[in-house]
Assembly symmetry: C2
Homo-oligomer: 179 residues x 2
């Protein structure tokens, strides 16, 4: 729990905030700029990235697409796909990241769509199942699927944020070596 003394200077868990700087630094070194496309993380990845020094040099911002309707309208995710296969699958993750890349000035985009739980989603996807995608101009799209298993919703949120930051970091570092 936060004590009253530090409640005013810590909106987001410090451990999460501490992960932003290496990602922003790597993006800057690689000459990349980023936009996020978030469903279950609700904007938290962008908010964390915005804490880093010099974030405004390479964080354009992002999209929070919480409902299926917003995924379709804001990010251009195929409505038939959402209707037939739900919002939690690799193709939706891919289209979310692609949509964010096309709709922002960014050169790399990361997406997250999954089920925080504690219950399965309306389409029967289990709690803890999360898909990710990273789209970068001129590079193959990277996708990732994680089954984080049973934990509290905030636990899934947390590990999903960390994995997304890791994918972004990898995109800015590992991938740049092979492009």
């Amino acid at each position: 729990m936060h004590s009253p003394e530090n409640a005013l200077d810590c909106c987001i868990e410090r451990e999460l905030v501490s992960r932003a700087q290496p990602v922003i630094d790597a993006l800057r070194v690689a000459g990349l700029s980023v936009a996020t496309a978030e469903s279950c993380t609700g904007g938290l990845i962008a908010a964390i990235l915005s804490h880093a020094q010099n974030a405004s040099e390479c964080l354009h911002g992002g999209f929070v697409a919480y409902t299926k309707a917003n995924k379709a309208k804001v990010l251009g995710v195929d409505r038939d796909l959402l209707e037939m296969r739900g919002a939690v699958n690799v193709e939706v993750a891919r289209q979310m990241a692609q949509g964010a890349l096309e709709r922002s000035p960014a050169s790399v985009a990361v997406s997250v769509t999954g089920v925080l739980g504690p219950d399965a989603d309306e389409d029967g996807n289990p709690a803890g199942l999360v898909y990710f995608a990273v789209c970068r101009e001129g590079a193959p799209t990277v996708v990732s699927r994680r089954e984080f298993g049973e934990m509290q919703p905030d636990g899934v949120r947390r590990v999903a944020v960390l994995h997304a930051l890791e994918l972004l970091y990898n995109s800015a570092t590992v991938t740049s070596a092979i492009l």
Copy 2:
């Protein structure tokens, strides 16, 4: 500081998260759905709202427009306005909220643009100056200007989030009585 024991179940300060439920409840009662348009808060308002029970019934998501380029491309804020008057003024706030309303399925949108500090922004706006707007279908746009004064960046972020949530709550409750 978080203790290791609770680090896994609290990404965002609990006091902030606790403010989400009344807002989501008020929006549901009023039959409204919401999208955010965030600059300096970086997605934190959407992330907080997503913590509430039944959030998916009325939180479509939002837009994080951290750079001027993203404000123009993603939310349609006038480029000349951004160029001539910077990103921190009432008209940019109004256009951000209006843009979010037009570009999402939501019936109400809240925007935030300001200077977290500790330094003034590139256009000379002082740390702690934040503008807000709430656009709701069929209602006059509500704008708000706050000078939060000198505090740490996370302090400005925090009071800006709280004020935005208050404006949303008011839009869903007070305004509905006079429409």
